[in-house]
Amino acid sequence: MIGLFSYLVFFLIIASVFAIVCLGLNLQWGYTGLFNIGVAGFFAVGAYSYAILAGPHHAARLGSFGVPFLPALALSMVAAGLAALLVGFPTLRLRDDYLAIATIGIASSIQLVATNERWLTGGTQGARNIVQPLAGAFSSPLRYNLFFLAMMVAFVAVVYLALERMVNSPWGRVLMAIREDETAASSLGKNAFAYRLQSFVIGSMIIGLGGALYASFITFISPEDFLPVLTFQVWAMLIVGGSGNNRGAIIGAVLIWGLWTGSGSLAQMVLPADLQVKGGAIQIVLIGLVLMVVLIFRPRGLFGSRKALIGHGATVPE
């Protein structure tokens, strides 16, 4: 029973990480209409920044600077935000599908840097022994995880409340107006580009926060943690949960992560060892099917708003 319970705690911790990332993407996509398919990249920036700032000293790579937990989180967010600023500046003026391609390229480039620059990230060997906050303070791993879970829930709540405030503020309303009809919004004198850049940066900072928290919990990260599959999972969560709705983002994260781990455990139990890799592949196919079905039959997901989806799409003669 303890095993199941501790598994559940672990599950919820990771689900909370995803919930935070999903909230960040929701700001970018759900409220601003930005096609960020480079989520994994900003997640990686947050994670590696935390590893460099807070992790233990390593001969072979940069860091650590021994920065305490909360400041390290904040600085990781800043790093992700800077990356978003750098990247968003040239690309946010592009039309939607070009932005999507560009963000894929960005995530890919960040992954390349993570793989190649051993002095920065530990290369393919990854960054190990990252410091967990309050590591020694609890008598058992389970108690520690419970503490971490409580902390994660607090973080999710804070991010959720902050985002709700933001999107219901005048700033948020302008953002949604731009999403609906950029020309109309521009004619009102609102600099659409500035708003989109702000949303992109803030959203990426939140994604980076998720990455940093992930690194601080899991204590070992490598480029393999930041593959396009991650981006795909987060998008699936947001689409299923409901774009344009922060509650939907959180619920979608828990649901899809549940589906993912559930199918993973099932595969582990059912498949023999030599088919495990294939089991992982089946998981992706499965989540993909869920996503397709949702997209075709209920594109706004469970809680999403129709408005978040009405796109700048042109019709094709059929």
């Binding site: 592009l94 390349l112 594109p299 796109g311 019709t315 059929e318």
Partner: protein, 299 residues
């Protein structure tokens, strides 16, 4: 040394050119960025691999210095056919329902999701290890001062160029080819001229899918066959199509070779680990400076 890099780039360019043609066609005609296009290259390569294995029992010998004989060529033709069917099936099951609902994000995410699914289906069927069409080792021969290439590599480049010429003739001399160009140019006007756009779209997938299959086989022949090969080539393919100008088939060919050459030449100055990033940087520069590409029309 530079000449060798240039030659390597041309070999890669052969694959990129063929893949980019299909990408630019569907991008222009169907007005969406098909992230699943890379999967057509992967599936083309794997299907050809499966067919080649099936024919392996035959006693056909290789064509002279080439590592393969009729079995692979037949396998390629069969693979091209099946890959076209796959493209049409994916379009029918996934993209067409989403086009009807006119939700633009759905197409982008769905094609991204489809690409991951198709790639993982490959893993489920064939496993994650690299595969090769032949276990023979080919010797590189000097064909020009400072340039060495294997017979397979030379064949790939030659055949790619032949396919491009065939495509050109198809597009300029046949009724269907002209209809495809018309739809790429102005779909509404084509419709109003009596062209059955839906049928021609199927043929667009056939052309794009077949060329992608060929590109995949060429890559598998000159490098290796991996489940993620299509996905890894996706960025260079988009870069090639955008550089050449979306909608321009000749632009895609040009773009493919330029990106291939640039990627391989870059090894002279930066670490080979960053080769994929070169295509990406070129693409960003094009999008910022001249979004219509080299041969595209300014819209």
């Amino acid at each position: 040394m530079l000449a060798q890099l240039l030659a390597n780039g041309i070999i890669l360019g052969a694959t990129l050119a063929l893949g980019a043609i299909g990408l630019t066609l569907t991008y222009n005609v169907l007005n969406f960025a098909n992230f699943a296009h890379g999967s057509l290259l992967s599936w083309g390569a794997y299907l050809a691999f499966a067919f080649a294995l099936a024919f392996a029992g035959s006693t056909a010998t290789g064509f002279g210095p080439l590592s393969f004989g009729w079995p692979l060529l037949f396998a390629l033709i069969l693979s091209a056919t099946l890959t076209s069917v796959l493209a049409i099936v994916v379009d029918f099951l996934v993209f067409r329902p989403l086009r009807r609902s006119n939700v633009q994000v759905a197409l982008v995410i769905a094609s991204f999701g489809a690409s991951l699914m198709l790639r993982n289906l490959i893993i489920v069927i064939w496993g994650p290890e690299p595969k090769y069409y032949t276990s023979d080792i080919q010797i590189q021969q000097a064909i020009l001062p400072g340039v060495r290439a294997t017979p397979d590599q030379m064949f790939v480049v030659v055949l790619a160029l032949v396919l491009v010429v065939v495509l050109h003739l198809f597009l300029t001399r046949t009724r269907l080819g002209k209809a495809m160009r018309a739809i790429a140019d102005n779909p509404v006007l084509a419709e109003v001229s009596g062209v059955n756009v839906r049928n021609v779209i199927y043929w667009t997938w056939v052309v794009g899918g077949s060329l992608a299959a060929a590109g995949g086989v060429f890559y598998g022949l000159t490098v290796q066959i991996l489940p993620e090969m299509g996905f890894n080539l996706l960025l260079p393919l988009f870069a090639a199509a955008i550089l050449g100008g979306i909608g321009s088939i000749y632009g895609a060919v040009l773009g493919g070779f330029v990106i291939g050459i640039a990627s391989d030449l870059s090894v002279a100055v930066i670490s080979p680990g960053y080769k994929p990033a070169v295509a990406f940087i070129i693409m960003i520069l094009v999008l910022l400076l001249r979004p219509s590409g080299i041969l595209g029309e300014k819209k």
